[in-house]
Amino acid sequence: MAGKTVNPTRMELTRLKGRLRTATRGHKLLKDKRDEMMKQFLDIVRRNRALRAKVEEGLQRANAAFTVASAVMGPEMLEQALLYPKAGVELDVGYRNIMSVNVPVYQFRTTGSQDLYPYGFAQTSGELDDALDAMNQVFHDMLELAEVEKSMQLLAQEIEKTRRRVNALEYVVIPQTQQNIRYISMKLDENERGNTTRLMKVKDMVLQDAHDYKR
């Protein structure tokens, strides 16, 4: 609004004052929102980091066992053993609201048999059992990681948006409105003074006309 002329009228002044009030209140609310979101976000980031370390470690163990199994059994046999899994996983997605950001909450159900190993033990190596065991253990954490990481991404985006808004209000909207209000009230005061002076002048002229009065 800077540079753009504003009408120096009382109506405009009232309007701007109202706007300033709204902007100040909005700024305070958004700032509180941002601060709270930031708090939650940092918690989530911490959790994310811990979970990721856990998952990576678990998967590494599983992969190591799996590589050995693959070497012992040969890739064809391995694939054959895993081709038809007995267990299945279904996922329910719910939503949780963190400061008006909807983040997913996953709930998983295993379907089919509880038996993890989809093969007979005759033709497979023990390392494969170990690998699947390790996989199974890390799976819970993997799902939680997915939840936390998605929450983190969504929150990060919302925080960025809120931060921009707060800054726009704080550094652009509020100062400009204040400046405009100042400009209008100056202008109005100036008009008022001009009017008074004019009246005094007119009074002098009228008095002089009436009875040659001179100050």
Binding site: V93, L155, Q157
Partner: protein, 102 residues
């Protein structure tokens, strides 16, 4: 009802099959992109992608970052972690806070 998918090269993701996840092997970049989009449009709420593959899919993955579903999560492949997931975390923190504070 949602499902979980795992996307990556054969050796890295085969073991997930035993857990009952839907496993998709991809070899080429174009194949990976097509599969990722296909999965995202289907009822997969969580898609795990190996870090090795994700390097080629960055812009695709970024597209889904702002949606609640699906969540695309990086996992280390058979050659171990490349630190890409950690880098993504850092960039998210930087985006939110405005400075890298960790």
């Amino acid at each position: 009802m949602y499902k979980i998918a795992v996307l990556g090269d054969r050796d890295s993701v085969l073991a997930f099959k035993a857990l009952g996840l839907d496993v998709f092997f991809v070899e080429t970049e174009a194949e990976a992109k097509a599969t990722l989009h296909r999965l995202a449009q289907q009822e997969y709420a969580v898609i795990y992608v190996t870090e090795q593959l994700s390097g080629q899919l960055q812009s695709e993955i970024a597209k889904y970052k702002e949606m609640a579903v699906p969540a695309i999560i990086l996992i280390p492949g058979k050659t171990g972690s490349l630190g890409l997931a950690d880098a993504a975390l850092h960039s998210a923190v930087e985006r939110a806070v405005g400075a890298d504070i960790s």
